[in-house]
């Protein structure tokens, strides 16, 4: 469990990035922070591993106030994945995955063997192990980033728009992969995105943020879709809601289902034997 308690952050230049943010992130589930650019998502995420220290308020991981923990040690037990992977360009794929175990003194042989296993987990061909990151596609680099984040088998995994820079097809592949991995590993994931689609796909709990890290709404995707808290949320999820709002139309005597944009979503099958035969 991660608990943000009255967290504010004012940067030295005066920017109030987060203003009195309070939330509980349950263990072993995925919480997604979603909001437009500059709403403070990255700042909030980086407070969890003390890359940024709050100006006021406290953050607890389970029962520990993290301001009392040593930052470097704390970071080594929390997985971190970011956009553009942030891999070490001078180390091979396998050594990149093994980065944190190597830092914590695991032997090279052991760390590499574990790294190869992790490459399987995230769907990377072992043949890529000795390549450098620049020799991989963007999607493959992100997989390496995810594998690196998982390498110490952390309880907590922080992900900052990890799939933001890859094309839509690869993004959706990576999202599915993450859903599958999460089903097996059940980490406490805090995921940042500005893509509401992605938020609803991945999040058990979705936090919609306004500027200054102010919470517009917290809930499961279903709760938010069914009952947008206010106009802001309504607009923010508007497109998504429209697309998911299905309605029935009759075309040439047949009933078809169209989505909010008027596109055909499917055919309505009535349970009569006749239409059963014709289908």
């Amino acid at each position: 469990m991660i608990r943000f308690d009255g967290i504010s952050k004012r940067f030295p230049d005066g920017t109030l990035a987060v203003d009195d943010f309070t939330i509980t992130i349950p263990s072993r589930t995925t919480t997604v922070f979603v909001g437009s650019s500059g709403s403070g998502k990255t700042t909030l995420l980086r407070m969890v591993n003390r890359m940024v220290d709050p100006t006021s308020g406290s953050i607890h991981i389970d029962d520990d106030d993290i301001s009392t923990l040593e930052p470097v040690a704390l970071r080594r037990r929390i997985g971190y994945v970011m956009q553009n992977s942030g891999l070490l360009p001078h180390r091979t794929v396998v050594d990149n995955v093994a980065t944190v175990p190597l830092l914590t003194g695991v032997s090279k042989r052991e760390a590499r063997a574990a790294a190869l296993d992790l490459m399987d987990t995230v769907g990377l061909d072992r043949a890529l192990a000795d390549r450098y990151p620049s020799q991989l596609s963007g999607g493959q680099q992100q997989r390496v980033g995810v594998a690196r984040g998982l390498a110490i088998d952390p309880n907590i995994l922080l992900m900052d728009e990890p799939f933001g820079a890859v094309d839509p097809l690869v993004r959706s592949e990576l999202q599915q992969e993450l859903v599958r991995i999460q089903k097996d590993l059940a980490k406490t994931i805090v995921f940042v995105t500005h893509d509401i689609d992605e938020a609803f796909l991945l999040g058990d709990q979705v936090v919609i943020l306004k500027t200054g890290g102010r919470i517009a709404q917290v809930g499961t995707p279903a709760e938010i879709l069914a009952n947008p808290a206010d106009e802001f949320v309504d607009t923010f999820i508007g497109a998504e809601r429209g697309r998911r709002a299905l309605s029935i139309q009759t075309v040439n005597g047949k009933e078809v289902v169209v989505d909010g944009t008027g596109r055909l979503a499917g055919i309505l099958r009535s349970p009569t034997p006749e239409s059963g035969r014709s289908a």
Partner: protein
């Protein structure tokens, strides 16, 4: 040519002396410039001052500096230390800006993510910042190496050994062959040093070539795409 063959022994001795006089300033200059450059990169306030001092240092005429060294250091006039210290200062002056740029060029994304996964400042310097600054540092070191090898010839004017002796001696005797031999020898030393540095670079920075190729590959792909 006959003169060269007849004096091969002396030429070899001068070459060895030249090489030895070159190595110390190159190595010392590099080892001192890297931390100074890192300091200027890390602490923005110091940056302007450090870079200005280095720039000014470089404008002092080298001969004047060599001649002034015995007074500054309290050394004897013929002490090779005068030349070595002078050239080390020049090497630093040349190298600090490059070193600062080299650290600047390391991607902030990579530094941030290294910090985020648990590199402390010390390990991050040795395992991330320094190696990634490597290619630019190497480029700077190659310039320093060539410049130092050439500057060592000045030593002859203050009685130091080295291939510069062939310049002064050849000039006094009005004997162009000897001067030419000095020039060719100096260039050869510079070239050999440069090749060695490139080889060391390939050994220590194998990823840099891959990176380069990847960028060039991406470049060509784009060009092809535009052409198509």
């Amino acid at each position: 040519m006959t003169w060269v063959l007849a004096n091969l022994g002396q030429i070899w001795e001068l070459t060895v002396a030249h090489v030895l006089l070159s190595i110390a300033p190159i190595v010392l200059g590099f080892l001192l410039a890297v931390p100074i450059g890192w300091f200027a990169y890390r602490f923005r306030v110091s940056r302007g001052l450090v870079l200005t001092v280095c720039g000014l240092l470089y404008t002092i005429p080298s001969l004047a500096l060599i001649v002034a060294m015995p007074t500054i250091l309290g050394t004897k006039i013929l002490d090779p230390l005068n030349l070595i210290v002078t050239l080390t200062l020049y090497a630093i002056a040349l190298m600090v800006r490059t070193a600062t740029d080299a650290f600047d060029a390391v991607s902030t994304d990579v530094i941030q993510s290294s910090t985020a996964v648990g590199f402390g400042a010390w390990r991050r310097f040795w395992q991330v910042e320094l190696p990634l600054a490597g290619p630019v540092l190497l480029a700077g070191l190659r310039v320093v190496s060539t410049s130092t090898v050439s500057l060592v010839t000045l030593g002859a004017l203050v009685g130091m050994s080295g291939l510069g002796y062939l310049f002064t001696n050849g000039y006094q005797r009005n004997f162009p062959t000897e001067i030419l031999t000095g020039i060719v020898g100096t260039v050869l030393i510079a070239v050999v040093f440069d090749i060695l540095l490139v080889l060391i670079g390939r050994m220590l920075l194998p990823w840099a070539r891959v990176d380069d190729a990847a960028r060039r590959g991406a470049g060509t792909a784009r060009v092809k795409a535009v052409a198509a």
